[in-house]
């Protein structure tokens, strides 16, 4: 073999003889011959297995390759989230492996704000030195990591931070579900599963399976609607699932709590609640009944703009269908993280479902065991040190589950000088958690910011070091599970860029450089082996070979009449002192949103946001064929209600200006009757700010452009829809 040298590297090499053999072949024949010489012409299509990384559903998929190149991907037939189908995002995201805007080398920020490529060795050495300095001066509690939970990323990033003695491990939930998680944690501990297949009535609040898509759930919902399932859609916007609903309750944004309190009032005052359930599985009902007595449908009608008669009607209808009826636990939306009252709203939904007595019942909501993985024990997995301090922010948000924590409070910690070094794994808080300028400014104050990602995100632009990860399809990962199905991501294609490294390798090497290498003396395969050790041999074999397998569990999830709440006394506490610790009342109560647009001011609105089924937050906005769909269908337009638009002289396709205390942004208007008049709506994927990722440049606005940096005081979530904007038509 001839090695490439510099100038004239091929001269006088063995290659000259080979060149002569080319003769006068046509290009096609030459190509064929060359292919054959590598054995590529006869290569078979190989099938491997993985789970999609484009959203937290992690749908199982099959990866087809030929000659090490991606041939196609297909949804796994046995994975519960895909059941044979992947969504457009899943198909698009897999192609990121080959995208020409991927990070391909470690980068270091220069003084002028530009980045330069450096070697892995230099990156590790410098990061290691900075981490050691931070620990020496401020202790490990001055370090924090935020990750978007995916199998290896979740495992390695947590262990990495814990190995320092820091508990500052955060997830995306502050911008997703933290309010809901907080509410569940102190009522029934964990979110139950929904029995759509047997339900008669389901109320969705802000959640839309047709927008934030999960392929199997969407199919299942469609089948159940055909069967006769009655859907009540509560959303200021007629979303992409609303066409399946029998009722669309176009509620004023931020007032969902009032609706649920009033529905609870109807059930209590009309004695339509499940008395047996209340007696056997709840405490504090009388206090609750007293608390909701003033929240009448008439009272709620004023706040929500829904007719009192409709509120009464849906409450009675849900009661009539109980226990085969429930409010779906949602995702993001009204009680995930959006408003000042989101935690209280989530709490209200849990308690309303208790009134319906649906927990543990067929057609209701239920618990059961999922897959239990083996422990990481033995000499390879050194016991982690005791934490030196509680998780940062846990004193301010004592009710918030530390498994998620508030990743927003960390940014505040930088400004206060409490947090000095931050790591972000596949997480883009600069554009996702609040307005980019504010979050970015805070990151710029830190001594060390390290971003590990596959592309130059807005957050990466504020990093001191950017480390290039492989895409999910290029690596093997630690196991994860959905229900009773376990999965292991197997490597689908060879590494596309030589100088990228898989997440497990990056954290292992970073740990070594930071002086905690003794906690990372294992490989991914070692973790897999330890975690699947308790499974029967045939399951292990199947997992390692096919990547997805059903695991036998003792008590599989099913509705058997007993709610099986995972809390200590198997009861729901309608009233509880625990809430006082977090600044809420012992009893449920109405809490105003932080902002409320004044309908008399014709240009004043709340800006709300939602997903579109072709994008996953901002992760997919540099994927050309997905962004082309956005362009083809003008999906980046900002929705405005027809009457309000008329009052402002705005027509479809007009250029508008949206201004707030945070920023002023131009946008294009989509005028529609399918939106509550008090708000304007945008999809949450646009307004890209990284000049490195230009496919989505100039499209739409980021929903965070107008959201001030703030946190819900009860959970630390980012209150993504607490804002006030002014809209005007721009001159053509």
């Amino acid at each position: 073999m001839t090695k490439l040298t510099r100038r004239g590297f091929l001269k006088a090499s063995t290659a000259t003889a080979a060149v002569a053999t080319l003769g006068t072949l046509s290009y096609q024949d030459w190509q064929k011959q060359a292919y054959a010489s590598e054995g590529e012409a006869d290569a078979e299509v190989q099938i491997s297995s993985s789970t999609c990384n484009a959203c937290s559903n992690k749908c199982g998929l099959e990866v087809f390759t030929k000659n090490g190149k991606l041939w196609k991907i297909k949804g796994s037939n046995i994975h519960p989230n895909s059941l044979g189908t992947l969504c457009a995002r899943g198909h698009g995201f897999a192609t990121n492996a080959y995208n020409d805007a991927r990070l391909t080398s470690p980068l270091k920020k220069n003084e002028d704000g530009t980045f330069s490529e450096i070697s892995w060795e230099q990156a590790y050495q410098e990061i290691g030195e900075k981490v050691k300095k931070i620990i020496a001066e401020d202790g490990p509690q001055a370090l924090a990591i935020t990750q978007d939970p995916r199998p290896s990323g979740k495992f390695y990033s947590k262990r990495f931070m814990n190995a320092f003695g820091s508990q500052n491990v955060y997830t995306h939930h502050a911008a997703c579900n933290l309010s809901k998680l907080t509410a569940y944690a102190h009522t029934i501990k964990k979110e139950p599963k929904c029995d759509f297949n047997n339900a008669d009535a389901v109320m969705f609040i802000g959640r839309s399976f047709g927008d934030g898509i999960k392929p199997s759930a969407m199919k299942n919902l469609a089948n159940n609607v055909k069967r006769g399932l009655h859907i009540i859609m509560v959303d200021p916007r007629f979303n992409a699932t609303a066409h399946m609903a029998k009722d669309w309750l176009a509620i004023r944004p931020g007032t969902d709590l009032a609706l649920i309190l009033a529905m609870s009032n109807v059930l209590v005052t009309e004695e339509l609640y499940d008395k047996d359930f209340i007696e056997n599985y709840t405490t504090g009902f009388d206090e609750f009944a007293e608390a909701v007595k003033d929240y009448t449908p008439e009272w709620a009608a004023e706040i929500t703009t829904l007719p009192a008669s409709k509120i009464k009607e849906v409450a009675e209808f849900m009661a009539e269908k109980a226990p085969k009826a429930f409010i779906e636990p949602s995702w993001r939306a009204a009680f995930g993280c959006s408003y000042y009252n989101s935690t209280e709203t989530a709490r209200a939904t849990i308690l309303f479902n208790a009134l319906l007595g649906c927990y543990g019942k067929k057609g209701g909501m239920y618990y059961g065991d999922g897959v239990k993985f083996g422990k990481l024990e033995g000499p390879k997995f050194k016991k982690l040190p005791e934490p030196v301090a509680p998780q940062y922010g846990s004193d301010r948000f004592p009710l918030t589950p530390t498994g998620s924590g508030s990743s927003v409070v960390v940014a505040e910690g930088i400004e206060k000088g409490d947090i000095k070094g931050l790591f972000y794994y596949q997480s883009n808080p600069v554009i996702g958690y609040t307005n980019a300028e504010d979050f970015g400014k805070r990151l710029d104050m830190a001594d060390l910011v390290v971003v590990i990602d596959v592309q130059m995100s807005e957050t990466a632009m504020h990093a001191h070091y950017v480390l290039p990860d492989t895409t999910y399809i290029e690596r093997m990962e630690v196991p994860s599970s959905t229900g009773t199905v376990a999965d292991v991501r197997l490597q689908g294609i060879p590494k596309v860029h030589e100088n990228t490294r898989p997440v497990d390798q990056i954290f292992t090497e970073l740990a070594e450089a930071c002086g905690i290498g003794e906690y990372f003396t294992f490989t991914v395969q070692d973790v897999i082996d330890a975690q699947i050790a308790p499974f029967p041999d045939e399951v292990k074999e199947k997992l390692l070979k096919e990547g997805i397998a059903k695991v036998p569990v003792e008590n599989p999830k099913k509705p058997d009449g007993d709610p099986h709440f995972p809390n200590d006394d198997n009861k729901i506490h309608f009233a509880d002192d625990v809430w006082l610790e977090g600044g809420l009342g012992r009893n449920i109560q109405w809490i105003e949103p932080k902002y409320m647009p004044n309908p008399d001011n014709i240009d004043e609105f709340r800006l709300i946001a939602g997903k579109q089924s072709i994008h996953s937050h901002t992760m997919t906005t540099n994927i050309p064929h997905l962004i082309q769909i956005t362009k083809d269908y003008d999906l980046d337009r900002v929705w405005i209600n027809t009457k309000r638009a008329e009052a402002l002289g705005i027509k479809e396709g007009d250029k508008i200006e949206i201004s707030s205390e945070v920023s002023t942004t131009p946008a294009i208007a989509h005028v529609t009757e399918r939106l509550h008049p008090d708000c304007i709506w945008t999809a949450s994927h646009y307004g890209t700010k990284s000049p490195y990722l230009t496919e989505g440049a100039g499209l739409g606005i980021s929903s965070m452009d107008h959201t001030p940096f703030h946190m819900e005081p009860f959970s630390g979530s980012n209150m993504s829809q607490e804002n006030l904007v002014h809209v005007k038509k721009m001159e053509a």
Partner: protein, 211 residues
């Protein structure tokens, strides 16, 4: 030029030098190709071999220093810089694959690495028994140019033509992207000129030597 053999050697040397310039910067070879002596030799060689006026090659006298070049090269051409760069990679500018059986969404689009172009070049290099260092992909411009220079010396015209027509036919697209990048970043005019020179030499090869 004395004879056909000399002419081929000159052509080959020009393309080896072009390739050397487009390779990832390395101080020793860069200083060698940009030394005054080499530069005048290169200018004369191009002028004589391709009948280009020396005046039009004047821009070559403003080669950046090695330090500038190393920085510019990384910023303008490294894949790490996403759309702020114009990678010197053939696959990026061509349909990822012509294979109708491959049905991933990017399969018949541009903007992706390691497509058909990469596979073909890799196979060719393998057949020519050439091994690349890890930091190069087989379909990078300097590699193609150097293989081209090799073919000029040792291969029949048809093979040379084949390589040029099939693997040096994307330079217009590279040039457009580089022009956008240079405008956006405010530096790198020299590389646009050097690319234009590379393009015209590829064209002149066709006109003069690859009938």
């Amino acid at each position: 030029m004395n004879n056909a053999n000399d002419l081929n050697l000159s052509r080959s040397e020009v393309f080896h030098t072009l390739a050397a310039f487009w390779l990832k910067p390395e101080q020793e070879s860069y200083i060698e190709i940009t030394s005054l002596e080499s530069l005048y030799h290169f200018i004369n060689l191009i002028s004589e071999t391709y009948h280009i006026s020396v005046d039009s090659l004047d821009f070559l006298k403003s080669f950046p220093t090695f330090e500038e070049h190393a920085k510019n090269y990384e910023q303008l051409f490294s894949l790490s810089f996403g759309k702020l760069a114009a990678p010197l990679v053939e696959s990026v500018y061509k349909k990822w694959t012509e294979n109708p059986e491959i049905n991933t969404p990017q399969a018949h689009q541009t903007g992706y690495v390691k497509g058909d172009s990469y596979s073909y070049m890799k196979a060719l290099l393998h057949q020519l028994e050439i091994e690349l260092p890890d930091e190069y992909q087989a379909d990078e411009l300097p590699i193609i140019l150097d293989v081209y220079a090799l073919l000029i010396e040792y291969a029949p015209v048809s093979s040379i033509k084949n390589l040029s027509e099939n693997h040096l036919d994307w330079l217009d697209e590279l040039s457009s992207r580089l022009a956008r990048v240079v405008t956006k970043r405010g530096f790198g005019e020299f590389y646009l000129d050097f690319l234009a020179l590379t393009q015209s030499l590829v064209e002149l090869e066709h006109r003069l030597y690859l009938p």
